[in-house]
Subunit: 265 residues, 2 copies
DNA sequence: GGTTAGTGTTCAACTGACTGAACAGCTCCG
DNA sequence: CGGAGCTGTTCAGTCAGTTGAACACTAACC
């Protein structure tokens, strides 16, 4: 919602893009993705991104030709090709395939709702979901984002970062997004939890994103030099959750994390 | 793997793109998505797309900045942002949300493996999957593509098209892709089936893509002027499949299709 | 009806992105 | 060692994509 102009020469912070048209096209896609209804007109986009209408028209024509967006009368929406490309990305992440295989034959996890997620700035993106048990139906879908401070996976993932990186993302007095009365409020609160997480080797979320729901999560040791940071989580109903069950799930999550982190599954 | 050059002035067939850089960037993404390993170097891409290396370098820089691709040393892969964008596309398709809701409370379908798919040229793209029953675990994932001639949804979807459109996509002597001994071989065979599908109102697939597996599918009446063509399918094991069960599933599929086609769910 | 505010489209001038050859770094192999 | 073959990067000239004002259109409003 902040002003997100994409002008030719932004200011002086960074050098101009080596292919402005591409950068601008990406901005168009993001604007469509983050808009409330997912439908914007040419003028909407031109205004929001600070691009001349005539240029925007050209961008949209090219994007439409590539099926990256659809035009419905005067309104533009994201295109189906994005589903293909997103799927292609996921299918190349061997970790996702391994994740499904492991969940299916794990004694405890096979009956639970398990997810694999990735760190993206101060958010977590869910990459895949295994649903062994229809008791907990998640409303969140693959590709959805969630602030790190609100979920166990998020906390598990940033617990792996260096302190000064965390401090940069979350100053002590930072106001964190709040979803339930138990949500963490400040960067300081978050940092206090990280110490515990590092010690016990897993993260716990106690109704911090949804009342009545608890989560356990571990992080996956990054395989390869520049692979993404992956995390695993199990979701359970607080009403039926027990410590013994939790211990079992953590044990299997750690096992899965180890196998994902190991290049030779 | 046909030659897919993206030059400034393709030939004479179509006018040049109004934003070539964007068209080329899209071609880069597609090349990465359809490559065997998903990893290509700058030179690979420049060669495959017929773009000068220096230009390709600029494109890749811009794409990387937008997180649409990742660079790992000399190799480029698709970027995580694509997962986000793909998810944003799906989350805006009200049909997908409605699909999940319906499957969960349908008497028969709630225990089956149901999918919703979309027509894309001569392929079908799977948009969402409901798994009520772990008996049939599909290897295919959301976003995967499948030739229309090989699956029930595909046949159900093109049965809705006009004859001359089908004839254009599949000439009588067209060689269709083959996965099992029962796969359809020619455009003529496909067209013969369409007549049956139109009459009975649903499509049947008898081990044409996977031996031991059968599929039932119906198409969704397109809501709105320019909405995508959606189709629904149930997958079952041939060994346990019965006609009565099939009749029940078709009944519920049609119900779901009607509710999806109706703007006021 | 006329006015206003909105839409998207057109077009020629001009500025900046694209080009391609030359460069620099790397691994391999005789 | 030295050359061949590969990588990606640099840079100045030029050609084409971008620009913004003017246009055409529809819808809403006195």
């Amino acid at each position: 919602m902040a002003d997100s102009r994409v002008s030719r020469t932004p200011d002086g912070s960074g050098s101009a893009s080596p292919a402005p048209a591409v950068t601008r096209a990406a901005a168009v896609l993001e604007a469509l993705a983050s808009s409330a209804t997912g439908r914007l007109t040419l003028s909407d986009l031109a205004r929001e991104l600070g691009i001349p209408k005539s240029s925007t028209s050209n961008l949209l024509l090219a994007l439409e030709e590539a099926r990256l967006i659809n035009r419905q009368g005067a309104e533009f929406t994201l295109g189906r090709k994005l589903v293909e490309l997103g799927a292609a990305y996921l299918s190349r992440l061997d970790e996702v395939q391994e994740f499904y295989r492991f969940c299916e034959q794990a004694p405890t996890l096979s009956g639970e709702t398990v997810r694999i997620a990735m760190l993206d700035g101060t958010n977590v993106i869910y990459l895949a979901r295994y649903e062994g048990h229809p008791a907990v139906r998640l409303t969140s879908n693959i590709g959805d984002k969630m602030p790190v401070s609100l979920c166990a996976v998020g906390k598990a993932l940033i617990a792996r970062l260096h302190d000064h990186d965390v401090a940069e993302m979350f100053p002590d007095d930072a106001q964190l997004p709040v979803l339930t009365p138990k949500s963490l409020r400040t960067g300081a609160e978050l940092k206090a939890q990280l110490a515990v997480i590092r010690e016990q080797g897993y993260a716990f979320e106690d109704e911090e994103s949804t009342t009545g729901v608890v989560c356990l999560a571990v992080s996956v040791p990054t395989r390869g030099a520049h692979g993404p940071s992956l995390g695993l989580s199990v979701t359970a109903l607080k009403a039926t959750y027990s410590e013994e069950q939790g211990a079992l799930m953590v044990k299997e999550l750690k096992e899965l994390a180890r196998s994902l982190g190991n290049p030779m599954g």
